[in-house]
Every structure is written in structure tokens, then in C-alpha cells.
Amino acid sequence: MVLFLLMFLTPLGYAAYLSLFQERLIGGTTFVGLDNYVTALKDPLLRDGVLRVAAFFVIQVPLMLLLALLFALALDSGLLRLARVIRLGIFVPYAVPSVVATLMWGYLYGPDFGPFAQLGEKFDLPVPHFLSDGWMLGSLANVVTWEFVGYNMIILYAALRTVPQELYEAAAMDGAGPWRIAWSIKLPALRPALLLTLLFSVIGSFQLFNEPKLLQDIAPDVIDSSYTANLYAYSLAFTGQQVNYAAAVSFLLGLVIVIFSYVVLFTANRRRTS
């Protein structure tokens, strides 16, 4: 418990403390109150980063969860052959470090020796330039989806397995078809698990860092140092040396995520009671 407090509250407190100061060329470090936050809120780079991440969230998360849900339902229906193999196959990417996954997809996307570009050349088909400005967010979303569909699917699948078999039998007796069963029994049973996965996805997508950081090497023109909010905080602290401002930015970012998570939780809970 002590360690827990030490590892969570101390950095938070220290960040809050640091964020109130500013280092100037003349006069050293001075107390500036909330100035850093005011700057951060007005900072167009930070705003763009947050908006971009939010756009990413809106595209990627529903897609990923929908896919995970579909696969979980399909696996649970027991109609598939090779269900075991498929389940493991979809899950395997989760065991691949995001660094390796991004490097791999980065090469696959690449125009030089990526198989897509090679295939396109062979058959004279136009292949979209995956690493260009317009495609980048989609390409990132693909990488993240590839990594985490399996993880979410396993959570949902595990939840489905705990639905008692009698419920299905009773529903079948009452004349419910497989679709009806999926809709009226399986989906409600999945609600808590879905909420959990949604929450993790919120947290995950708002701190998007590894994937853009690594793709930056391949596509430096598209991804600048403030592509996502987290990347921005990182570049502020380590290349810009603006430690105090970086502390303010990461504090704000943490706040945004917590608020967003509570909003998600709140709306989901309200819908349940109504």
C-alpha cells in the first residue's frame, strides 16, 4: 500500500508542483501559478493533438469492439470448425510487443518492399500510399486494431462462457432463434465486460504514443512531434527541455482521460437503468 501510494501519488503530486513553475533564462525558476495551464489550454499544437486522438478514438474503438464482439459471438455459437485455432490465431497479436507490431506494419505499408506495393506493381493496380497524410490515421488505427481485437475478444468470450446453459435451453423452448438469443440473452450478459473493454480502450487510445513514435522514423513529414498529445508531452520534456510545461501537459492529459472515462462510465450506467 505504501509502495502503491509512493508510485502513484508522488509523481502526481510532483507533477502538479512542477507545473506551477517556469524556468526563465534570467532569474532561474520562478513560481508562476497556473500560467502553464493557461498556455497549455491555448496551445494550438496540444489542441490538435488531443483532437486527433479523439478522432482516432471515434474511428478505431467502435470498429475494434464491434469486431471483437462479432468474433466472440461467432466463437461462442459453436458452429465454427477449428474454433480453437481461430481463437488463438486472433489472440496471438496481443503477445507481440507494440514496437514489433508497428515496425512490422510499417514495413508492410512501405512503398519500397511492402508486399502491398509489390502486388500493386505486378498487377498495375494503384495502391494507396498508406503512410501519406490522409491515410496515416487509418493506418495507425489498423495497427492498433490488429493488436487488441484478440485481447478484447478473449474478455468478451470469457464472459459469454459464464452464461448458464439453461438460459439458452429455456429460450429455445420459448421459440427463440439463434439471432434472438444473441440479441436478448448474450448481449445483455456481455454488458459489464463490454464496459470494461470500452474503458481500457479509452485509456489506451488517449495515450497513443508507441505507434506514432515509431512510424515517425518512416514518415517524418506526416507525423510531427505533436502528432498526438502524449507525443507532444514527450517531445516537450526531452527535446524541448521544457520540463515544467511538459508536467503541466501530462497532468492535463491525465485529467482529460479520467474525465472521459467517467463520462463513458456514467452514460453507460444511465442507459442501463433507464
Binding site: 502526481l12 507481440v96 510487443p97 514489433v100 506494419w105 508492410l108 459489464p192 482521460i257
Partner: protein
Amino acid sequence: MLAVLAYFLLPLFWLAVASTKSTQDLFTSFGLWFSRSPQLLENIRETVTHDDGVFLHWLLNTVLYSVGSALGAALLAAAAGYGFAKYRFRGNNAAFSLVLGAIMIPTTALAIPTYLLFAKVDLVNTPWAIVLPSLVSPFGLYLMRIYAEDAVPDSLLEAARIDGAGEMRIFCTIALRLLAPGLVTVVLFTLVATWNNYFLPLIMLNDPRLYPVTVGLSSWASQAVGGGSGANSNMLALVTTGSLLSIIPLVIAFLLLQRYWQSGLATGGVKQ
């Protein structure tokens, strides 16, 4: 469904194929099939010996960091989860909601402040900088609490107390044993989290000898992009082979232990 499977496995297949090629073949032969002169062993040899075997150092570091923090985190999570589940103390609920709140605080938002803090106490650029923050796993704690409520019957604890066992002894000899399946889950997931962690070691370490494999590979990858000339000409092949080598242990671990993590996730996902 087979198409789906292909989507998930194709990149891995590509990686396996690519790691048998020299850098030149990567550019000249078709990406999804082997080239005429496969040289997997040659690639592995070069990956392992490049720069005085720094890759082996990275692998070893990764194993040390992740096993160390996984075991530590699981023990701490078990102790704390058990405490929350079986003892009533003042501030019990308040403390637990604090833990739940902590799940939501993104680790990366904490990373920069943690770095600044560690820089003050000279822990930066030591293995401790990686292991200490990873020791705390709010999600693991949450999982263990739920698990402990079911798995450790109160009557057993009472019987032990009547027989005169101290609380410490009860925890070590009875509770830990009953919690074992849950422990494996927490170990496995912390292991993966630390194994795959990139942000934290990236900012904490600047000595290449201390890098875990993720940071090391990405530094090679950026060399491969920037150079392609001189000493770095074969970098690309090294990156693909290194990537392949680095994912094999985890994939095997997951396949072998699947019974545990599946049941563990079921506990966490179902009971909110």
C-alpha cells in the same frame, strides 16, 4: 472466418519470411514468399553478434525486468487484494476506490513525472527505474481482490486462527496457495505489460547496455531508415530477425499457459 484468421496471421508470416532474407533480397524479392537463398541462420548469427552481442544483452534485460516486476507485482497485488477482501479496516472503501481510480490514470501520463522524480533521486538509468513503477498494478490488485473473496473461505482463516497461526503465517501458507491460479494470471499480464513496455524504458534509460529489447530494436530500426550505408547496410535484416526472435518467447508462454489466463480474465471481466 478464414479470411479473418489470415488478416491476423499474415503480418507474422511476413515477418517469419522476411527474417530469412538478406537486406538486398528484402527489396528485390516478393515480400510474402521466400527468396532463392534463405539465410535464417546467418541472420540470427549476425543479429546475436552485432555490436558485441548487444542484442543478447537486451533480451536478458527484458527477461530480468519483466520477470522481476511480474513476480513482485503479483505478490504485492495478492497481499493487497487479500487484505482488501478479508480485513475490515478504516478507510477500506475509500482506499479501494482510490485504487479503481488509479486504473484510469494512464501510465504514460505518469511516466514523465516519474522520470522527473527519479532524476532527482538518481534512479534514472538504473534497472530500478523500470522495475519500481511496474511493481504497482492496480488492475492486478482489483483482480486479486475479487479472486480472494471467492477463493479463500473465511471459515478456513478462522480455523487457522484458532489453531494459533499468526496472520503472516496464514497468508503465506494458506492464502497464497489458494490464490495461485489468480496469481498466474496477474504474473502473466504484468509480464506482458513490462515485456512490451516501450515508453518507460525509452525515457528512463540512455545506456544501450541497459535497454530492453523493445527500445533496442527501435533504435536499430531508426538506424536502418537513416542509413542503409556503410556499417548499417545490413540493419534492416537485423531488425526483422531481431523482431522475430523477441516475440517467440511470449507467444510460447501464452500458448502454454492459456488455461490460466483465460479463467483469470473471466473472473475480472464478469464481476464488476
